[in-house]
Symmetry: C2
Subunit: 154 residues, 2 copies
Amino acid sequence: MPRRPADAQQRQAAPNLPAEPTQAGRFEQARRVQSMALLEDYAELIADLHATGGEARPTDIARRLGVTHATAIKAITRLKREGLATARPYRGVFLTEEGEQLAARVKARHLLVVEVLRAIGVPPDAAEQDAEGIEHHVSDITLQAFARFLKGLK
Amino acid sequence: MPRRPADAQQRQAAPNLPAEPTQAGRFEQARRVQSMALLEDYAELIADLHATGGEARPTDIARRLGVTHATAIKAITRLKREGLATARPYRGVFLTEEGEQLAARVKARHLLVVEVLRAIGVPPDAAEQDAEGIEHHVSDITLQAFARFLKGLK
DNA sequence: ACGAATATGATGCCAAGGCTACACTTTCTT
DNA sequence: AAGAAAGTGTAGCCTTGGCATCATATTCGT
Ligand SMILES: [Mn+2]
Ligand SMILES: [Mn+2]
Ligand SMILES: [Mn+2]
Ligand SMILES: [Mn+2]
């Protein structure tokens, strides 16, 4: 049945770029973004643990994320591989400079997303809950619009 | 080092319910939601293909999603397993009653999310892009707030 | 100081969701 | 009516991110 084109285009690498404005392009970008979500949450959490005067040890991280420590350790391995963290065995996890920067961006974005949801009238618990997933999909452009929106309110 | 409690609680099933208001509970809920995202996008897309007068065949679906047809076929297998779709070999995919209902809900939510982003001042392309990922994390409670927000604007 | 309690790390298992490659079926075109 | 073109399905491979289990390291409490 030779009706439509073929489906197997070249499908190059496409590192992390803007995404075509086609439906397929949007889905591809959404998948790319999703693949960063876990790293973002870990970075944000590790920074928070450090900021709260504590250490970021696998068990702490695991408990806060609701996963087993084995799962956390595997994710930490990925963080290290991606150059976002280092770890001293039995002594906890530390963010690299790049990791710190990611954490800072992610935290700011998280707070802004919650703030916008609240401003729209979303109840506090739902805002906190939904923001945990939504945040990762909020692009810089959208984030700027969020900031302008909040500024316009006060 | 026996400082903090243990991390391996019972961790029961937790089918799809409200989620504790703890940080771990929020992350758990976000993971549950994410595991539905793929099914939601497929259901929405299949309904759209049918609505647009066409058939929903693996290659159509794959092209629209930006994946290979093999990937689409695997996802369709999961849709069938979950009771959301049926398929007649070489004749396309069809949503069950439950699948149709899911598709309708997902489509309405998608549209509302885009509308809210636009209302906040997000440029059209970014709104379309970000909504593709955000939509899956918007709870019913939040969706209601979105509807009220839009109503209040006009 | 030493045993108990806890944390850590390693390993192996699983399912999801990508991919390529290849065989088969259907449809189109001549 | 073939033969070519396109779609479909299957199989096998990979990575991610869950899990449980076990061995080892550290720290606490007495
Ligand atoms: Mn998050
Ligand atoms: Mn967050
Ligand atoms: Mn989507
Ligand atoms: Mn959608």
